[in-house]
Every structure is written in C-alpha cells, then in structure tokens.
Symmetry: C2
DNA sequence: CACTTGCCTTGATTTCCATCAACGCCGCCG
DNA sequence: CGGCGGCGTTGATGGAAATCAAGGCAAGTG
C-alpha cells in the first residue's frame, strides 16, 4: 500500500462507527484510514499483512489480464471485510470507488489462535466471500446480459439497504467489468429496463426499482 | 446424501490411502466410501454435516439455474477436499465423474476448536477454494473460448500431475459447463488446437500437450 | 461564458459463439 | 450380426453482445 500519498490520512483508533455486534461482525481493532476516490488501497502481489473493513464509502476488488482486460471480483460496501488471503500476498487490487473510510487491522492480531471468537468471525467472512464468488461464477458462465444486470441490481439493492431506491457508488465501466459485459451493453440494457418500466433512472447513478418482482424473475 | 443406494459401500476406517503429511493435507479421520460414476454425493440444499476428500477418481461440483442451465463450479481430484460450507447447507451438488473413492468425516470433528492444526488445514482448503473460484470468475467474465480452453487444459495438466499427457476424467459437456461454453464450441476449439499442433487427441479423453509454451501464452 | 474533459447513451456494423441439424464412432444388447 | 443409444464431431445458420463511431450532457477550468 502506498502510505506516502498525502491523500491517505490515519488517525489513532477510538471511534469505529460500526454497528453493534452482529453475528459475523468483525469489530476490527485498528486504525481508521481515509482513502479518496480511485486511490489504490493495495495492489495485486503486495504482501497481505493487513485486513480492512469498510466503514463508509465503497471499494472495488479486481484482477487484470496481461492485455488490460479487467475483471472486478467484488464490490465491498460498509460493513464488509476484505483483504483476507491464504498466502502471503494479495491476489487482487483494491481501489476506492468513492471517498472511503476504512478500519485497518494487522492480520497477525486477527489470526491469533487463542481468540476463538475472532477466528470464527474471520472464517465466516472468508466463506461469505467464497459463496459470493461462486454465485458470481454462475452468473458469468451461464446468464444473459439482462439476467446479469437484473441480478446485479437486485443484489445491490439488498446490500445497500435503501429499499427500492439505490444510489450506485460505481460507474458503468465498473458494472460492466463486474458482470462481464461492455459498458455499451450495460447502458443499453439499463435503458431497456427503463423502457419496460422495470426501473427508473434519475441521473445515471440513481436507480429506482419499479417492479422488483419482475426484476427478481429475470434473475432466473 | 442417499445412503440407501446399493452402489455406495462403506467400510470402517483403517486405511486412508492418502499421501504422508503435506503442508495443507487434511488426514481425514473417517470412513472410506465408494461412489459410482454419475452418482450424487450430496445435493444443493442438503445439510452439510460432512466433509469429503477424494482418494481416487474425480467429482464435479455444480449449480443449476431454474431452467436447467448448469454451471460447474469446480472439479475435485485426488487429494482435494470438498463439502466445507459456511452455513448449515450445501450450496452445490456434487456428483462422481468416474467411479470414485472418498474419505468422509463429520464436520464437527474437524471444526473442533482445540485442534488448531486441523483448523488451519481446513482454513487453507477453504481459501484455496476461494482463490480457484476467483480465478474462474476472471476466466468466465473476460476470456475468449480458446483462452478458456487453454487455461483449462494447462490447469488440468498441472493438477493431474501426468506432465504433458492427460487423461481427462470428464466429458465434453462437463468441460463446457465448467468454462461457460457449449459442447460444440469445446469440440471445435479442441480440434482447432490439434490442427495448430498445440495438442494431440488420442481418443477423446486422452490429450497430449505438444506445445506447452504456446498453450500457456494463450492463457493471457 | 466558451471550452474541455469524462462519462454516458445511442446507432451501425461485425464477430464470436450458440443454435440447429446431420453424421460418425463405438460399446452394448437383443 | 445388426440395430440402438450415447457421445463427439462437423457444417450451416442465427443471434446476442462486442466493436466501431458519433453525439449528448454535466462538471470543471481558463
């Protein structure tokens, strides 16, 4: 991670504005950290000695092919934990989608063997990531463009927790690279959804879901 | 799991024909179990109270969409562990590709909190699965048909450990459902590879890799 | 304000892969 | 042996999404 950048600010921990104790909540003991839009948090191949939790904002985790094609593995929203790795190194790059606040902890303090509770929560986070990745693989391998997008919207609506109104933190390009399409196809499919009355677009990042049922059916 | 089927045989444990202690080897204490070709080992949604290890043979783990489309999440070969879940239930169905021998353990005996070594090995297995799933997502989201197939062949060659000669345990349909293509495209691409001299097909499941370098470059 | 820049949308065309269809090969079984 | 069924290959055609190209819109800047 580039700690030298002046956009990164660190403050001593005392206010982790996380929700109370949820089942698999990790109350990271660490420092908070602010990252501005598009800034890299860590890069693929860098040593993975820290674990992060999103407090505010959102990030994208992705991998690049040699010729520049990008596959976004996941987006992490407030409450989500990322940066857990099997080996010594990170296998994805993570960047902030918007100005973002994180809590950081050293990995060693988490993997600590005598804290059974922390281990269990870490375990749950990792398995949740595995589940999401497998779901994602099904989408990428076997679903059509509209199914992918419907799925994406329904998932984001659920995770952002704003009911039928969502404020997307990512660009069209990010969406395209997440669901394995091009930016043009994403755009066309969204306007198609609007024409069909499934959604309403109020500004390109603000989506109102009009027919949740129909959209859910499209998820197949 | 269908224990009633007469094709499943169980014997009391005393011969787990696994290799000695590898770094992340799980020496499952359990019973061995024989499963014949195409038989289901467990189904999506069934309670996940057991963990399995392949001793001999191979299995496919997959999910179905409502209309029958199938996405194979992974193949498990000798030495691989599968069936580890976050929640109470399995999220994929697993079937034997060929006649297969497994070792089975109850999940509870593994998650046992005071066996730190077993926990660590379980952890490694789960994270390995996550890595593979993420790699898979990159392939499914951003690679062309020939890149997918090249990738598949190279990966299988490495995992089967037979150097340049591989005996595929799965059908064309299985390959297609793994890399997100149709059976026809898989077939065509394989013959294309053969025409280009990258591989040689000796019977449809027997592949000789002729130009490993070129094939590896195709993996992008 | 005029101009640039980045992001998004829309249209035209192309391409890759899916689909549809036929056939070959081979093991199996009557 | 001959027919049958499962699997794989090959060919012809179609279609969904990619690519190529142009233009709109809004925020930022001189």
């Amino acid at each position: 991670m580039q700690m030298s950048t002046n956009q990164v600010q660190r403050r001593p921990y005392p206010v982790p504005p996380t929700s109370p104790t949820e089942p698999d909540d990790i109350r990271l003991i660490g420092i908070t950290m602010s990252v501005s839009r598009d800034q890299e948090i860590f890069g693929e191949g860098e040593p993975a000695d820290q674990v992060f939790k999103v407090v505010k904002g959102a990030v994208r985790s992705f991998r690049l092919l040699s010729d520049g094609r990008r596959q976004i593995c996941d987006f992490y929203l407030p409450g989500d934990v990322f940066g857990i790795e099997l080996g010594a190194d990170h296998r994805t790059t993570v960047e902030a989608l918007t100005d973002t606040v994180l809590v950081v902890a050293r990995r060693s303090t988490l993997g600590d063997e005598d804290d059974a509770g922390a281990n269990r929560r870490l375990w749950r986070q990792a398995m949740k990531a595995l589940q999401r990745s497998q779901d994602h693989a099904v989408t990428l391998g076997r679903r059509s463009a509209s199914e992918r997008l419907a799925n994406f919207l329904v998932d984001m609506a659920a995770r952002l927790g704003g009911g039928e109104a969502l404020e997307l933190p990512m660009s069209r390009q990010d969406i395209a690279d997440y669901i394995g399409l091009t930016i043009e196809t994403v755009s066309r499919t969204l306007t198609q959804f609007q024409i069909l009355g499934l959604i309403r677009l109020a500004g390109c990042r603000s989506v109102q879901i009009q027919k949740p049922r129909t959209l859910a059916e499209l998820c197949a």
